[in-house]
């Protein structure tokens, strides 16, 4: 990873939040994705980038879907693509990357808690619905991950408690 520019702005994308930017100084970050999944998308021609931090697989008509659409895989992916398009991106050009969906509450509980796996499946399915698929993915396992999207380059980086940042 390159040294941070002096005017770099780190934008934290919390649980159920979404961010879209074409400011080359921005780095969009989803910290510590556990069972959550981060979906990043970048249009290399226009430099428009977006990141959504999904908590749950399906909105299923829940009230929160209207107030916090980014919380769910289906409404979250839909909103990401809508906001990217409004910012000038062309959906078919998007380079999409996904990370997260781990079972961090211990291997003994991995079989019981499948939210991470369900999140990952729901996102893949919703991307397919939009004619998209992830160019790179790091899903599952038992470790939390932090996902960064550098708007200037469109590059994404992943790190865990045990490993430094690596490009995804």
């Amino acid at each position: 990873m390159t040294a941070p520019a002096a005017d770099q702005r780190r934008v934290s994308v919390g649980i159920g939040q979404i961010a879209v930017s074409k400011n080359a100084n921005d780095v969009l970050i989803a910290y510590g994705l556990g069972s959550c999944v981060g979906v990043s998308a970048f249009d290399p021609q226009t430099g428009v980038a977006g990141l959504v931090h999904v908590l749950l697989p399906a909105s299923e008509g829940k009230g929160a879907a209207s107030t916090e659409p980014a919380r769910f895989a289906d409404t979250g992916v839909d909103l990401l693509i809508k906001l990217l398009r409004e910012a000038g991106a062309v959906p078919r050009r998007l380079i999409v990357k996904v990370a997260g969906g781990a079972a961090v509450l211990g291997p003994a509980n991995a079989e019981k808690f499948k939210i991470g796996q369900r999140n990952a499946e729901a996102i893949t399915e919703r991307l397919k619905h939009h004619g998209l698929r992830a160019a790179a993915a790091d899903l599952g396992g038992i470790r939390g991950r932090t996902l960064e999207l550098h708007v200037a380059s469109g590059k994404t980086f992943l790190r865990t408690a045990a490993s430094p940042a690596n490009e995804l």
């Binding site: 908590l55 509450l105 509980n109």
Partner: protein
């Protein structure tokens, strides 16, 4: 009183009793007086949940226990790693600073810490609400703080409920050691708890 207020009020009582029991257990284990304070019991997905352990990306060491029996739910105890290792030294009767890595022994000790504190709260709840509850053996958590916290949120919120979060502060003779304790009954069990609380 709204049902969520009732629940917080009841769980605050349970938390205070759990803290007394856990403090008693820990004092025996550590060979010195350990008291546990409960500054806050709250509901929901608060953005500052991880502040107690140093922020979302702070590396934590702790333990997770699931609850089964008359109701189901989750209990998790997290410490910043350095503070968890201090607890290990206290438990092992060693000078503070002896344990420098979360090795197998340290993880085992932290699992026992989670067991004692988690079970104390689960048993306090069982007695208060007249329920039969079984805490699971502890699973060790060694990760970025937000990862296990959001995973519990996800499990509970996927059922459409509120997360009850209890912040704890552990205090021994050397001063304060902050930790985060999350107690989250599954939403399907809330009605039963509310009937007890009412």
């Amino acid at each position: 009183m709204p049902s969520t207020d009732l629940l917080v009020s009841m769980l605050s009582d349970v938390a205070r009793e759990g803290a007394v029991r856990a403090g008693r257990g820990l004092s025996g284990l550590m060979g010195q007086e350990v008291s546990i304070h409960i500054p806050d019991v709250r509901l929901g997905t608060k953005a500052d949940a991880c502040d107690a352990v140093g922020g979302v990306e702070a590396i934590v060491l702790g333990a997770y226990l699931s609850i089964s029996g008359d109701i189901t739910g989750h209990v998790m105890l997290l410490f910043p790693v350095a503070r968890a290792l201090q607890c290990v030294d206290l438990m092992c009767g060693q000078p503070l600073g002896t344990t420098t890595e979360p090795d197998e022994l340290a993880q085992s000790a932290v699992g026992e810490l989670g067991n004692i504190v988690g079970s104390a709260f689960v048993n306090a709840l069982a007695d208060y609400a007249n329920l039969i509850l079984h805490p699971s053996p502890p699973s060790i958590i060694h990760d970025m703080a937000i990862a296990p916290v959001e995973s519990i949120y996800a499990e509970v919120l996927s059922q459409g409920g509120d997360v009850v979060m209890i912040d704890t502060v552990f205090e021994d003779q050397t001063g304060h050691t902050a930790g985060l304790l999350i107690v989250a009954p599954d939403p399907v069990c809330m009605d039963r708890l509310l009937r007890v609380a009412a």
